[in-house]
Symmetry: C2
DNA sequence: CTGTTAGCGCGTTCAC
DNA sequence: GTGAACGCGCTAACAG
């Protein structure tokens, strides 16, 4: 009497099912795998045996011989961040319909981590990659080009990489910013602060210097800054270097940057924050300065969410289609995997400016 | 001259490396796989060849023969939800340190989807499963017990399953609720509304009826309700069925439920919302009723987040350790996979009541 | 220390 | 319509 207690009976293989059904393994494989043709009677025998033994196909072995894993690799900065979580949800939903799964890795905006994430995923033989890259320029993105060159399709999401032409799904960063700032200008504002400017050692003094710095920022950040400058330019408003933060990208530093602006002899009458944390930082700074919005200062934030609507007064926000961003990226990638190749495509989704109550004219503003 | 343009050279195998290095495949495998022992000179030859050919180990094949995928399956209600996104981030971080990866699936609180997710993951031969189950009781969780029975370790996160003893990582739901409500009571409140009560056809009229309904709710929801009732009981406050919502679990219905309470002849002087969406719904209802907090009604919400601190007045909230929840779950699971088995353990993490400014005495309240 | 050989479980020719 | 045999790339046990 063998006492193999706690030794879980390893899952039945297809050969075991074949034996139990009294047929050859190939026949069993055909009926269970749903390919080739099998006699009705044989099919029944096999299916009965499979059911009885509780057969489940081993996807690993299947992938081994078919060469496809039905799995996509997803590389983002931080899966805990609501924005990326939304994008991933979009990817995940679309994948479900097409029979794919995803394995997600976070990089914390660290290119080295991104590089090893991509490598790992390729070694796992994912069928394709969706990455929101931290790479600023082509030369730091060799891991991406290597992947596509060696046959792993890649689509970039949320951020393009300067100097690289790949399938990409983006939002209209520049226009979103331009429109938001134009909205402020249309309300009469001319001194408009920009929160989440490029992080620089010494504060940039000229527009060209600022644009150069933007070139070394993440794609989305750079684009939004350009949109801000474009809006000013279009209205003939002179750029003031004091009205752009150059602090590190986190809530506390954003708050510090805004606090500095608010302490200016001639402070801004409106603020445009280009990230969720920038928005919260700005809100904190406004309160700490003893000011109120929109009374003392108007405010537009980025990344709309339910809280922006319940806060008092409700915030005017730029809303990004996170789910759709992910969905489209997955769609584009899977189509390419399926061989429906097309020229490399860039998909640009629109944001929406949700007007609530944080913007008024500058009339009441201090000074 | 063969024109195999665009046919990406398939990744070099270990045999090719072996041949290129002039050694047997096993030797190459040993040096590249980092096991067994190899002569210094041979090792160099192999490594050089591997580097030259750009060899990368095929994890699929490796998993095939080792029987482990170094991959964990994660099943949650919605990866797009900030709470689960945080938990997943915690899992992901811990996994990275132990050399594991995760594939994440969302179920939308649908047990059928959960069942097939678990099945799929097992077919992919994940080494273990972390699941925030939608199953209320043991009988609807056979997919979980089947998994552990057949040798796939499982740890439950955020929710236990009634009648099932598995490794679990939870927060102190009942205490969190009890303390929050006690906090309200200590400020003098006696009519305290509970938002996110069990969804029932006909409103429950007695405590026992309510408790019965709680038994058919998600673990966390049921526990929080029990904590609420316990706090009332401890202070000798009589339960009023009118003060518990029985609406479906979403923001709009929560708002509707609160609106009903606020329209009561003798409305509550305080509210306890046990979910992020419940909190937002409550906030909306309060505003729509033309009331203000904490002046007209005190409020404690659940799932602290940055916005709760910038909203005006800042909200007193229960804060959950999302990252740690995920971390501990991953730790427990990987330890079990590594064979450091122990008796089934239940890990309960503490929440924190973050006091801000949404709670005062009921003195000013209507009535 | 090294090379040979046998699987892992499944898909896929190829004869029967 | 059916079954035998081979290959995917790697690890592992066994000789040498």
């Amino acid at each position: 009497m063998t006492t193999n207690r706690h030794v879980p009976a390893s899952a039945p293989t297809i050969s075991e099912v074949a034996k139990a059904a009294g047929v050859g393994r190939a026949t069993a494989a055909r009926t269970l795998g749903g390919y080739g043709s099998v006699g009705a009677e044989t099919r029944n025998k096999v299916e009965a045996a499979a059911l009885r033994l509780g057969y489940q196909t081993n996807e690993l072995a299947r992938s081994m011989s078919t060469g496809e894993t039905k799995t996509l690799g997803v590389v983002v900065a931080d899966i805990g961040n609501p924005f990326f979580a939304g994008v991933v949800r979009g990817i995940s939903d679309y994948c479900e319909n097409r029979g794919y799964n995803i394995v997600v890795l976070s990089t914390d905006e660290n290119v080295a981590k991104e590089r090893s994430a991509v490598e790992l995923l390729r070694n796992k033989r994912v069928d394709g990659l969706i990455v929101a890259s931290a790479a600023i320029k082509a030369q730091s993105a060799d891991h991406i080009s290597a992947a596509v060159k060696r046959g792993t399709p890649v689509v970039l999401v949320d951020r393009a990489i300067r100097g690289l032409d790949f399938d990409t799904v983006l939002i209209d960063n520049r226009d979103a910013a331009r429109l938001a700032v134009a909205h402020l200008i249309s309300h009469g504002h001319r001194r408009i602060g920009f929160v989440w400017g490029p992080e620089t050692a010494s504060p940039p003094v000229s527009v060209s210097e600022l644009l150069a710095a933007a070139e070394n920022a993440l794609w989305s950040d750079g684009e939004r800054l350009q949109g801000y400058l474009a809006a000013l330019f279009e209205s003939g408003i002179e750029f003031d270097a004091d009205l752009v933060t150059t602090t590190p990208k986190n809530r506390e530093d954003a708050e510090r940057g805004v606090a500095r602006m608010l302490a200016l002899p001639c402070r801004p009458t409106a603020l445009f924050a280009t990230e969720a944390d920038a928005t919260i930082g700005a809100l904190n700074a406004i309160r700490r300065a003893g000011l109120g919005y929109p009374r003392d200062i108007s405010l537009i934030g980025f990344d709309d969410n339910p809280w922006a609507g319940v806060i008092d007064p409700p915030l005017t926000m730029v809303s990004q289609p996170m789910l759709e961003l992910g969905q489209r990226a997955a769609e584009q990638l899977i189509n390419r995997i399926d061989g429906n190749r097309a020229e490399h495509s860039v998909d640009v989704l629109s944001t929406v400016l949700i007007e609530r109550s944080s913007v008024t004219g500058p009339l009441n503003a201090g000074e």
